[in-house]
Amino acid sequence: EAGVAQSPRYKIIEKRQSVAFWCNPISGHATLYWYQQILGQGPKLLIQFQNNGVVDDSQLPKDRFSAERLKGVDSTLKIQPAKLEDSAVYLCASSPLARTGPYEQFFGPGTRLTVL
């Protein structure tokens, strides 16, 4: 089966600009996650969706980050305006319905963001 798809793979922007990342999960996976991985650290969960509803966004910096999953499939993560400290790899993952589990999460290749 096809894995989690993400685009773009790389993005370079200047601070205060806006940027958006796209994720297409594995077909049939109800749960979608966005992680931020800063160089030298482990991934940190930003937001979790179940279908098109938000399960947890407690670590999402809501003053500048937003995410949506309108039809319960694809998702976009946006940063507006970007700061230098947002430079990181943004990982998308998906899993089957998370009500029971835990289930294995399948990760995409990530988007490497550099903010200059």
Partner: protein, 109 residues
């Protein structure tokens, strides 16, 4: 709050030597623990989970609730084991992973 600690950023061993990647966690409940691995130029992927009590690619990990540890072990390292290894936990509710900082394993020929 839950926390996962991997004290070694880098672990370098020779081929055929035993390997132990350390993982400690802080959580008062009963978490589910996992090891994820990322090989060079590949995606992050699940290696094993404690609930399955399985051995994958010769790796095993035992949950020690008394020491709050979940160390990953392999008796004889292979060059293809070179990768980044992340320990992670999930709390009882939900499916949200908390990752440690990762350990880079280098297996030298």
């Amino acid at each position: 709050a839950q926390r996962v600690t991997q004290p070694e950023k880098l672990l370098s061993v020779f081929k055929g030597a035993p390997v132990e990647l350390k993982c400690n966690y802080s959580y008062s409940g009963s978490p589910e623990l996992f090891w994820y691995v990322q090989y060079s130029r590949q995606r992050l992927q699940l290696l094993l989970r404690h609930i399955s009590r399985e051995s994958i690619k010769g790796f095993t990990a035992d949950l020690n609730k008394g020491e709050t540890s979940f160390h990953l072990k392999k008796p004889f390292a292979q060059e293809e084991d070179s990768a980044m290894y992340y320990c992670a936990l999930i709390l009882n509710a939900g499916n949200m992973l908390t990752f440690g900082g990762g350990t880079r394993l280098m297996v030298k020929p």
